[in-house]
Structures are given as structure tokens and as C-alpha cells.
Symmetry: C2
Subunit: 342 residues, 2 copies
């Protein structure tokens, strides 16, 4: 067991008290230049490193922020986390990441665990649980992607409903009337909002919402793929598909290609790798997970710095990027699309 160098050791070596050594370590100016030098020398010579646990215990908060997402493996959340980690490191904060994997009880357990660690703050993608007890906490919390249930807090989201409306309007403009909708469970707020935008656009165009064209049980690409297959097997298949999430888009794309039905138009909410390489290239609503992460971190840091103002609701706009698949006309084909898209 290698002996740990403590602050008192440094103090002894520098012929001063632990408190003064502590002052030097923490950059307190009220130390004479001479003493400071002696301490710094001792720190280097002994190879002293602050014990962050002891410091955090004494200070009452840990220099760590907790991040809770749905799945770390999801490229979207991975990008969000990465950005948060970058911002945190610049501030000298550690990041503990956890995933709720959509298990409500796990979600609460995880959040509680973070509190027990006295994290300085949290950034959470809320799932099903009621986390309103967090409102009574000192610990600042910023929610991302979705709103928490039953209480007001800082939230950063995308313009889900507006974006979906834009996408479906786009398809309508190209002449589509039978537009399928593929999404995750409507229990999830983002799905719900995107579905609402889909309905908005159809209604304002006087196009009826048809149940057989709506699949809202696609938790992953595999299910989205099967549902797309079902669509294709309808007596009157859709001429366009709006996929509400990158993950589901992968499934839709796969099936359209498997069945060689790339004459069917498609727009994806959320970009994904190779979307621009496929033929036709996939028209997407571009949302920046990096920006989401950055804004959430900024909001949290503002709270850590003492911002006590009312909860802020940040909505990030999304942008339609036409690439071909969204510009296919009903009964048209990929060739037409490529031309129309450019």
C-alpha cells in the first residue's frame, strides 16, 4: 500500500500549517509569496495530489455532474454526452454518466444515487418517472430533450412539433396524400410532439389522418422495419413516410431498400451517418445533439454560478435538409427525386 501524501505532510515539509498549505493549493491570495513558494516546492517534491473525496465531503458538494440519458449507445445521446463532457472538463468537473434504459424504477434509483453522491448538478433526459421531488433540492437540474413531469425547471428541447410540421408540409407540397408516420411510443414526449406536428400538417391540408398509416410502437430500428413492411403490404401503400427519429429511420430505410421501394418518399427527423450516401439520399430534419449538450451545460453552469432566475425553456430550431428522398413525387422514382432535389 503506497503511502498517500497528505496535506499535513506538505505543510510539515514546507514548515507551515495545513491550512496555509490548503490556501496555496486553492489559490487563496492571502499568503506571502515566500510561504507560497515553499509550499509549491513541497507539493512538487512530495508529489502531492488533493484528495477530491475529502475535499468534496468537507465542502458538501462534489465536483461532478451527473448525466442521465436513455441509452449511451444511441449516437444521438452519445453526441450529447460528449459535448457535455467537453464543457464540464473545461470547468474542471467530472461527469458521471448513466442510462435509464427506459426502466422507470431504475430512473429514480439512478437519480437518487447521484444525489447521494452530492453531485454539483444534473442533466437529465426524463423518461416516465415523476422526478418532481427534485424541485425541493438545492442541486440544480437541467432537463434535455423532454420536459419533466409536474414541475418547472430549466429545459432544453428541439422544436419537435414545428419540425415535424415542416417535414410533413414538405411532403404534402410534393403532392403526397398518403403519408405514413413511424415513431416510438407516444408516451415519450418527443414522439408525441412530432406526431402532433404530423397531424397539424395533415389537418391544415385537409388530409385525413389514417390509422393504418400510423405506427407508434417502434422502439428500435427492427420494429420500424417490420412496420414499414406492413405499410408496403397495404392495399393502398403510402407514397411517403415520415420517420420521427433517426433510429426508426434506419429501419424504414432498410425495408424500403430490401423491397426496392425507393420510389417511396421519406423524411427523417434527425440526421444519421450515410444518409447522404444512399440513393436516393435521405432528406432529414437536422438537429444538433452537440448544441443540445452545449446549451444544457451552459444552463447548468449558470445555475452553479448562482443564477436564481425563473426556469428557462430553450427550444432549438431544426432545419430541413432536402437531399432527394423527401422530394420524390407520388408515383415518381429515385431518378426524378435526384433531379427534383438538386
Amino acid at each position: 500500500m503506497k503511502k498517500l501524501v497528505r496535506l499535513s505532510d506538505v505543510a510539515a515539509a514546507a514548515n507551515t500549517s495545513a491550512k496555509t498549505a490548503s490556501r496555496v493549493i486553492n489559490g487563496d491570495p492571502r499568503v506571502s509569496a515566500e510561504t507560497r513558494l515553499r509550499v509549491q516546492e513541497a507539493v512538487v517534491r512530495l508529489g502531492y495530489r488533493v484528495d477530491l473525496l475529502a475535499r468534496s465531503l468537507r465542502r458538501g458538494v462534489d465536483d461532478t455532474i451527473g448525466v442521465v440519458v436513455e441509452s449511451i449507445a444511441d449516437p444521438f445521446f452519445a453526441a450529447v454526452i460528449s459535448e457535455i463532457e467537453l464543457a464540464a472538463l473545461r470547468r474542471g468537473l467530472n461527469v458521471i454518466v448513466t442510462s435509464n434504459r427506459r426502466l422507470p424504477n431504475r430512473e429514480v434509483a439512478i437519480v437518487d444515487g447521484l444525489r447521494q453522491r452530492r453531485v454539483a448538478g444534473m442533466i437529465i433526459t426524463p423518461h416516465a418517472s415523476d422526478l418532481s421531488y427534485l424541485a425541493s433540492t438545492e442541486t440544480p437540474v437541467v432537463f434535455v430533450d423532454r420536459h419533466p413531469r409536474n414541475f418547472a425547471a430549466d429545459v432544453v428541447t428541439f422544436d419537435d412539433r414545428g419540425g415535424a410540421r415542416t417535414a410533413v408540409r414538405h411532403l404534402l407540397r410534393y403532392g403526397h396524400r398518403r403519408i405514413a408516420f413511424v415513431s416510438d411510443d407516444l408516451e415519450i414526449e418527443t414522439s408525441r410532439n412530432r406526431h402532433a406536428g404530423y397531424v397539424d400538417a395533415l389537418q391544415e391540408a385537409g388530409v385525413p389522418v389514417v390509422a393504418e398509416l400510423v405506427a407508434t410502437d417502434c422502439a428500435d430500428a427492427a420494429v420500424a422495419r417490420r412496420r414499414t413492411c406492413d405499410f408496403l403490404d397495404l392495399d393502398e401503400p403510402p407514397t411517403a413516410v415520415f420517420s420521427a427519429r433517426s433510429e426508426t429511420s434506419l429501419g424504414v430505410v432498410k425495408m424500403l431498400h430490401d423491397r426496392k421501394r425507393t420510389d417511396i418518399a421519406m423524411v427523417s427527423f434527425g440526421d444519421f451517418a450515410l444518409a447522404d450516401v444512399l440513393s436516393p439520399a435521405i432528406t432529414v430534419l437536422e438537429q444538433s445533439p452537440e448544441l443540445l449538450g452545449r446549451l444544457a451545460a451552459e444552463r447548468l453552469f449558470a445555475r452553479l454560478d448562482g443564477d436564481r432566475s425563473d426556469p428557462v425553456n430553450t427550444v432549438i430550431p431544426v432545419r430541413l435538409v432536402p437531399r432527394g428522398s423527401g422530394e420524390i413525387i407520388p408515383g415518381g422514382d429515385a431518378e426524378t427525386a435526384a433531379v427534383a432535389g438538386s
Copy 2:
């Protein structure tokens, strides 16, 4: 400031000592059933939660493991982290994730920071730095994807060299002689090994290694894309490309499609989303980041459980998955490939 419930409060409420309450909390059997009940009742009534910082300080280690990867946003590492997090949570451990972003000094700073937090163990993708000082530490460390410099420790890697050899042999078997190689910097061990496998296969086939067909400066997809472009512009372009990493494969694929040169064969070390949807579908060496994460976590846990045996070197095999792009013959085209591949 909400008053925190301490263990002593629970003890008082249960009419016992802090130590006994502590025993109950920690499941120590040497407590009478009656006392135990009283304590448990008090815990619930007061809403007591252990202070993990205080516990960790006292115990000397934190119930946290540190994970250092190159980039959290990389789907490969994201999958590794996700799997580690799952395993850790099952053991009641937290996970602090950090990325070195390929900055050597940052790498050391990060690892030191984790030590200062007294993490129970670490899982590290080593980059350039010499981390051999970790050898003298009590903290167990498992390295993933690459070996650390200058010391022996548990390592979990893929069969990089063997896999690359397999891939290139595969292309040679289909008649290719001008096979390009695209990878990241050879400073990185995985790139180096995959390059070695590439050279192995060419040499055993008596095919010379041509410098103009080797690009080892592709840190990301964008560079890989440009290098692929350079290849295509050669007087005598390659008839096949072996890409040593999923990330670079994205760039290669993009350029081949941009230039409509999907008659050129290609194999990717590492699978990626939609690889099977492209036409031709991309032949890959399948490596499982999940398995890598799981095995690394298991190794670390074994060490945490007191395993003091010699360092273990785990090599995970990779599997060639023919999908079409790797079965294109020189001078052939995508159609031929699709047929040959099935």
C-alpha cells in the same frame, strides 16, 4: 438549505448507536432482528440516504470506476461504454466517463484526476502517453483496444492483425492486386496492427506493397474521403480498398458513391449502420464493441474481487461478413458483386 438526515439521526430515532445503525445499513448480520427493524423503520421514516462521499472517504475507495476512451461520440466507444455502464450498475458501481480526445497531456491529467477521486478501478483506451506509473498503483486498471506502453496489465483487444490479414486475403482471392489501405495514424496500435495484417497478406501472395496505395493519415471520415479521391485519380487506381476502421469506411464509401465507382471492391474493419443497406452492401470484419466492454468489465471486477494473478491478455476474434462490396472482382461491377456475394 434542506437539513440532511445523518446516520446519527437515524441512530437516535432508533434508540441505538451510529455504529449499529451503520451495521444495519450495510447488511451486517450481527444485529438483533429487533434492533434491525427499529433502525429500518427509522431509515424509512426519516428518509435517510447514505452519504456516499463520506462512506468512500472512510473506506478509502469510491464506488466508482473511471472509463477513459478516445471519443465518447464515436459509436464504437459509445457501445463499449454503454456495456461497461450496464455491468457496473449491476454491481452497484458508478461510472465516470472521460475522453482523451487524443491529447497526450490531457490523457495523463484525466487519469490522474480519476486517481485523485480514488476510483475503485479504471478501464482505459490508452493513447500516446506513458501510463506505466499506474503499475505501482493499487487501483486495478484494464486496458481496452490497445496495449499500454511499457508495462504489463490486463488488456482486451481484437485480433487486429489477423482480422486485417483475413480481409486482405479475401480481396486477393477475388483477384485483386492493387488493394489500397486506408487507416488512421500508425502511431495508434490498432492501425499499426491492421496495417501489419495488410502487409502480411500481400507479402504471402507475392504482391508488392505500393506506397501510393497506402493512406495512414485518416483521423476522420473527411480525410479518408479525400485520400480515396486521390486514389481514384491515380493513373492506375486501386481495384479494391481495405479500410481499417468504421470511421474511415464512412469516408471511403462516401467518395466511392460520389464518384460512382462502386465497381471498386471494399472491406471495412468494423461494421457500421446501413453498411448492409448500401448497394453494394459493405463487406465488413465484424467486431463487437459490446463484447469488448463486457470482457473488460469482467476482468476489472475480478481484480476488484481480489484476483492477483498475472495480467491477462484477451484477444477477441473478428469475423468476416461478406455482403457484396468485398466480393466484387477487378473490372467487375456492383451487379456482379451482388450475385457473387449471395
